[in-house]
Structures are given as C-alpha cells and as structure tokens.
Amino acid sequence: MGMKWYVVRRVAWAVVATYLAVSLTFGLLMVTPNAGADVAAAQAAASGQDYDAVRERYLERRGLDRPVEEQYVDYMTNILTLDWGYSFSQGEPVLAAIGEAWVYSAQYFVPSILISALLGYGIGLYSALNRYTPTDYLGSFVAYFGISIPNFWFAIVLILLFGVVFRLLPTFYDSGVALLSVQNAKQLLLPVVVLSTASVAGQMRYSRAQAIEYARSAFVKTARAKGASEWRVLTRHILRVALVPLSTILIADVLAVLFAGSFIIETIFQIPGLGRLALEAIQQRDTPLVLATTLIPVFIAILGNLLQDLAYVALDPRIDYGDR
C-alpha cells in the first residue's frame, strides 16, 4: 500500500470519527430528559400553568416530539450546515457567541504553547546532553513540579502572591483593555505562566528521553567523529530525528491543555473565553451552546490528530504504510 492510499484512508477515518462523535451527542440527548423543557415547564408551573401541558408545547414547538429518525436527520443536517441554533443564555446565535469568545482564549493560549514548546524542548535537549549535572537535576525538579501541581491551585497561589500580597499584577482579567497594551500583557502574564508550567513539564520529559536515546546512536557518534560542533550535532542531527515523535506530544499536549486547562484558567482569571462560555452554558442549561462547546473541542481533536498523522508521513520516511 502506498502513501496516497494511507492518506485517503486516514482522511476517511477522520470523517467517520466525526460522524460517530456527532451521533454520540445526539444519542446522549435522546436518552436524557430535555433540560430546557424542564426549565420552561417549571417556570410555567410556578406561575400557575399546567406542568405537563407546557412541557409538551415546548417540545412540539421545537419539533422534539417527532420520530427519532426524523430528528436525527434534522440534527445531522443542522450540524453540517452550521445551523447550530440560538443560545438563550447569551441572547445570540451559538456561532456568534463562539466567534466573540475565541479571541480571549487565543490571547493566553497561543503564547503559552509557544513558550512551553520552546522552553520544554530547549531544557529537555540541554539536560539530555548534560546528564547528572546540577542543571539536569534542576530540570527534572521543574518537570516533576509542573506535572504534579494542580493548575487551579497554582493559579490561586500566584494570585495570592502577586495580586494580593505584593500587588504587582491584577487579580482578574479586564476585557476592556486594548489588545496590544502593557496592561493587557500584565494581566495575561499569570494565565500564561500557569498554563505553560503544566505543558512545559510534559514536553521537557519527553524531549529529554528522546534525545538521550538518539545521543548514543551511531549517526551522532559519526557526526562527532567528523568534527561537527555540539550545536550542529544538537540542531542538525538530534533535533531533526527527535522532532517526529515530539510533534505527537505537542499535539496531544496542546489539546489536553486546551480542553481541561481553559475551563480552569478562564474561571479563575475571569477571562470571557470559550471555557467560560461552556461553563455558563452548562450552569444555565443552555443545550445548543453546551453541544457546540462540546463538539468544537472534539472537532479540533479529530483535525489535530489527522494533521499530526499526515505530518508524520511527510516527516518520517521510515513509516511503513502497510502496517496500519
């Protein structure tokens, strides 16, 4: 089997995975009582109307009393045509709400990824080449610290120290500040530090392990024997082969941080991004928005995995397409 066939199969699988994920959310919605209907009916019952009648009217108006297969086709068509419904908690279409929120998430997210990738790979490679030195031990310590510290607790402690005790940085995010200003940089500093601490650790450990493996290999010895400088060995010989497996970690890490981290960071620092949007949707039982904020990470995950596998094909000539 050739490379093209592999790529076709991989893309087809991504489509199937998307289809299954969307179907799963539909299935979950079908087997649980409608939250919105309950809310509407409870409100009506409080004002003296009949609970069941209001509930039924609510379902009828939204076409939720039709046969399951009809609703399923409708649901899938709406998802496909980007007709994702109206969010009552935000008072605007779901996609508009998401369009406004993602900017705030990106502001702290992109710098964190860049910093953690650069620092993580940098320290990891350095400590692999300088094993059992104080710097290596310091690196290991930072790695253990980063993977073990609960990021919500770390954020609280940082706010306590820099916001409350020393009063150097603001304790929460103010969305009224201009995008490119010192003040904005200051208020994004703590979120970026918290997010990157978590992911620096993972990347450092993996890149150290990878680089140690390659540092002993024959091609590195050959390069050294031919008189290549340490820097050249590191960047041209070790980093180049190590980048392939490391890119996997980067994608996996980016996604893990995006999903769990953004909820926590945005709650603590009061950033009006995607995580906060999702939480508000859940708290106010706003089903269309809950669905959208669930599906978007899933789509990103599927796309990320696809791109990563395709990047592998381009990066690593050793991959055997017959195997998988």
Partner: protein, 380 residues
Amino acid sequence: MAGDEPAPDGGTARGAGTGFEGIDWTAVDDAGSAGPSAAVTAEVLVLLGLAAALVYDYVVLANEAPTVGVVGWDVTGVEWLLVVVLVVGAFHAALPLARNRRLTAYYWRQFRKNRAAVVSLGFLGVVFLVGLVGPLIWTAPNEAIDYAAAYQPPVFAGGSWEHALGTDAQGRPIWHLIVYGMRVSLEVGLISMVFAISIGTVVGTAAAYFGGYVDEALMRYVDLQQTFPVFILLLLLIYLYGASLLLIIALYGLFSWEGTARLVRSEALQRGEEAYVRAAEATGAGRWWTIRRHLIPNVSSTVITAATLSIPVFILGEASLSFLGFGDPDVFSWGRTISAGRSDLPNAPWISTIPGLFLFLTVLAFNFVGDALRDAIDPR
C-alpha cells in the same frame, strides 16, 4: 504400578513415574508463583461474602439503617467498590509480593536507590491509612460546623492547637476537610485505576495476540476514544445526568484506558514473538492460556508503571471537576474545598492553600513512586 492408581488430581497420573513427562507442570508453575488454588479460592470466597453483604445492605437494610451499626457507618456505593478494589489489590499485589520474598527484596533494593521515591511511598502510606480509617475517627465536616469558630488561623499563623490547621468560613476544621478529601482521592485514584488498567491490559493483549480484524476493530475504537476527550465527555454527561462521585469514577475508569491499551499492545507484540510463547503454542497451549500465563505476566512491568502514573491523573481530574463545581455535592473533595476558599483568599488564605498543598504532595508522590518503580522493575 503408579500408572494404574486413580489420579489424585485428575488425569496427571497417566505418565507419573516416567520422569520428565510425569511432572505436573501446573503444580511446578504454581509453586513458583502466587499459587492460585488456595489464594483464588480465598479471594472468591471473600468477594462472595462482600456480594452477600452488599445484597443485605441494599435489600434488607435499605436506607433505614447504617450498614455497620456499631460505628454508624452507612456504606455507600463508592465505598463498596473501594472495598472490592482493596480485596483485589490484597490478593493480586500484596499476596504475590509476600510470597516471592526474594524478588520483592530485589525490587526493594532497586527502589530504595531513589530517596525521594522512598519518602513519597511513606507519605502515600500515611495518606492511604488516614484516608481509609480517618473518617471513622474524625467527624464529618458538616457535623463539625461551628460558626463561633469560623476563620481560625492555623497554629503557625497565630491560631490555637485546638484547630491546628485552622477552620473555614463555617468553622469546619481544615484537618477534617483534608481527611475526608483523602478518602475521596483514594476512591477516585484506586477504583478508576483498577478499572482502566484491567480493561486496557485485556484489550491491549487481546489486540496484540489475535491480530487481524480483532486488532483493527479494537484499535480503531481506541482511536475514537482518544479523540473524544474524557474531560469534555464528563462535562457533557454531568450536564445531562447530574454529578455523582460514582459517575465520575466510572467514566474515568471506562473511558481512559486507551493509553494503557496501546502501551500493552506494543509491548505484547514484542513479547509474542519470543521463544517461550512459541514454545507454549508448540506444546498445544490454547490462546487464552497463552495470553493469561505468558503474555500478561510479561507485560506486567509496563502495566504496573502505567497504573501508578495513572492514579495522579485521575485524582487531579476529579479535583479539577470539583473545583469547577461539577463534583459530587455530597463529598468533600479537595477541589471543592479549594474552590470554596477562593472568596476568602485575602483574609483567610489557609482555606485554599493547605488542602491544595496536600493535593500537590499526593500527586507529586505518585509521580515519584511511579518513575522509581519503572526504574526498579523495568530493566530497559
């Protein structure tokens, strides 16, 4: 004459006395390892006893009376699971270790080289014991509410020894909140780990051994599960069904075994090519037998490391959920306590920081122990 006598244990007497062929290989095997006959019987008996107690608790006592009347302990569903997990752990981890003294001593010598890991193991032992028996000693936080004693600082910040770690906004001693939080972390970490690791090991070895369509189907499912992030799935399900500790534990256990499955699969693929597996097949061992007796024991070093390192992930995950307000409202998770203390950060920082320190140290200790275990039992 030996061949004419009725076989004492059914069938093996046929070639008895004829040397090599007469050896009961199962018995030889058992003498060296955990010795299933007695241990398995004991384990099954204990689990059956637990099942009977469970039925008694739910059918006879129902909700009216506490299960263990003397101490007034009404065992919840999650606590039942914890007991089962502890029984399984005693028979499958503690018993083999106690029987194989020499191997245990060897592992311990290897493990001891890592000072930080030894200290961590001691800390985890304390957390385990306090989490297990602490709730029987110290009263539940909600029964210890005392508004007159609210916001007492810990003893090192000028408080009294009566509440050594201080009290929260409702006068609940922080120490009680920490003890009950240890129980929650214990339950989440251990139960989810046992579920996830068991499923992952079985799926991984099965995929590696059977290959073909079984492998393809299982690994495609693993791909799918990996794409759907557990955290998002948990949020969606909690949105739909409401939060409970059992749901969180079950979801972590049932939907986060894909990493283990992949690891075990690749490990088992390498092991499957080795001579002893070929030899077992050549002597007519069945597939299931080969998997159970030859593949799983040989991937166990990978599994043990993965198990130890998965516990902190589950503990952190549950704490994050509770912090966001999606935890079980009936249990005192560390995440919930930390979240509750956020509003009092400037005037009473100990409410958030002390439980957080315990959470941090617990997770750190698990990571130290997991890495040291890998170095000790995995020769590569």
